[in-house]
């Protein structure tokens, strides 16, 4: 999607990181650059995996 590479996409990624949702595009870039031989998770798989990890440990929020 060309729109998501523009400045709107950047802002969306920023807001998502602030509320604790990691950026899929970033993950893809990382995997392509560093581990091109590995299979990547799909966007939905990535979102699920991150969510499970976030709610299984203390220290993701406060009083």
């Amino acid at each position: 999607m060309p729109m998501l590479t523009g400045s709107l996409g950047k802002w969306i990624a920023v807001i998502r990181t602030v509320i604790g949702v990691p950026d899929y595009e970033r993950y893809l870039r990382h995997m392509r650059a560093r581990h091109p031989e590995c299979a990547v998770l799909s966007q939905a798989e990535f979102a699920r995996e991150r969510q499970e990890a976030r709610y299984s440990r203390p220290g993701s929020r406060c009083c």
Partner: protein
Amino acid sequence: MRSFRSIVIWGLIALTGAGALARVASSRGETINAAWLLTAAICTYLVGYRFYARFIATSIFALDADRATPAVRKADGHDYVPTNKWVVFGHHFAAIAGPGPLVGPTLAAQFGYLPGALWIIIGVVLGGAVQDFVILCASVRRDGRSLGQMAKDEIGPVAGITALVAVLGIMIVLISVLALVVVNALKSSPWGTVTITLTIPIAMFMGLYLRYLRPDKVLEASAIGLVMLAGALWAGQWVAENPALAPIFTLTGPTLALLIMAYGFAASVLPVWLLLAPRDYLSAFVKIGVVVALAVGILAVMPPLAMPAVTQFVDGTGPVFSGKVFPFVFITIACGAISGFHALIASGTTPKLLSREPDAKLVGYGAMLTESLVAIMALIAACVLTPGVYFAINAPVAVLGTTAESAALAVQQWGFVLQPGEMDALAKSVGETSLLSRTGGAPSLAVGMAHLFDRALGGGGMALWYHFAIMFEALFILTTLDAGTRVGRFMLQDLGGQLWPRFRDVTWQPAVWMASAMFVSCWGFFLYQGVTDPLGGINSLWPLFGIANQLLATVALCVGTTVIIRMGKARHAWVTLLPLCWLLVVVFTAGWQKLFSADPRIGFLAHATKFSALHAAGTVPPGVPSLEAMPRMVFNDRLDAAVAAFFMISVLVIVVESVRMWVRVVWGRGVAGSSEVPAQSVTLFAAD
């Protein structure tokens, strides 16, 4: 030239801050404007950030832009991700800010605005922000390791296990006291109850939307959710004004307590995508929105503070909670001044996002200063109410009685003015049947905020703003509660797994259900006890929460001090030793008084003795439903005493273990090497 200009500018900021602080502190008998308090706070924060945080960054940790952070070294695209410092700041702030800095200062306003304000401003610069910053730096140098892990590595295994058990205990007390705040805010309030109940299906709709309709479109789903929240606010009003429906949603405290327990259980066993995660997104947006709105409201209105600087209740006879200003103001306000819970976040996700070491100053120290500013704003919102109204909302039934006349009389006896009919008119204007004895802080904060928003926007919207404020407070709290219950369930499964390995299996439903039920009953027990307490429950539970939170801060500061000493900077260890010593004095004085004070309003054991004697004599004191209820209350007192004692013993264990380690290192007998990961230059790692 540049340094001369810098001296002039910082000199001016320091002078302005000192002047405003002097104005705030010396005001007696006249009302002062909130602007003074804000100026004093902001200038102090700026000076603290520019000088003290920089000192810690350069002289102690020697933060180095060339030294690779875990986010760079272990970049994996999901857990460890180098991120822009302002984004990490936003993320860290959203994670540390919660209901704590709003409720604590509201309760502490019973001493007047001055004690709370001074503790928030000074405590954060020398204590809270230092703790968050030091723990963040320590964790960044250790691959983002957690507080418990660092306690084990740096101090020793005993300290590690004590920290782990203490965290579990703290979560139980934290969740129960926050749930109590929600129950007290929703009691006999059909509007609030309907609005909050509707947030559950709204979150579930968002969850399903994100799972099946538009996967991962979090912002889109959140926007829809926020619109639906506004609808829920309106639906609540509609129900409250409907004579047939209103009684169905007019619930008593015990009923609400049971419903919240059922909710916590459901949130813990349901899949996260369905309820927990979407709620969390909503809550994060509402949280940031409300903080901004509160700031805008205060700046637009610049209200005078109606509360005196210091009230007579510093002597310990306060109706909101008992105990003298020392040590109780330091226990009541934890988040906002220093909060041990933050150490879990500063050693959780945040260190794995930091792209450069020097960014830790903005994120660790800066975000905590921002939270402190939120606490100051909450204090202002509570102090714009006249003292008569503030105490009529926050004092328990046992002190005020149940009628407007008895309440007015009680308030007058304290020397404050409450016009006849004032409370009724206020309750009517916010769309509630009564605001008397709505303890817990949330309703009085909501009235204060509604007052500010209403004045800023020209009037006529008190009822809507009040319920908006209640909705966001409850939304935050329930988000802490549901996620906390789930984390507590995991911790219990982990602990139980030591005895029975299968219990640890998070995919085995019987274990999930059992551990969830166990954890919910733990906090539910304290919640129910608080709801049925004639003194309002806050009196016994909030100090326990404060002690627990400050206990965690002492653990964090012990770890911080050990880290500093073991890296060979013992001569600078006073940076963490200073707040540590102060907290130890506070926690032990408060803990001792809660245990052994002869005043039954303060000491758990004295209260138990008094109630045993009354029960034996067959007398039922005011506010207690029946003679049969009294043995249970005596048991609760003794249990609270045991919990306080447990927290104090945990602190002692960790402090003794730490001091042993410090002595070994300073006297050169033990290993001085720290568990830091060796420095590696960023140039060794390719950027994505």
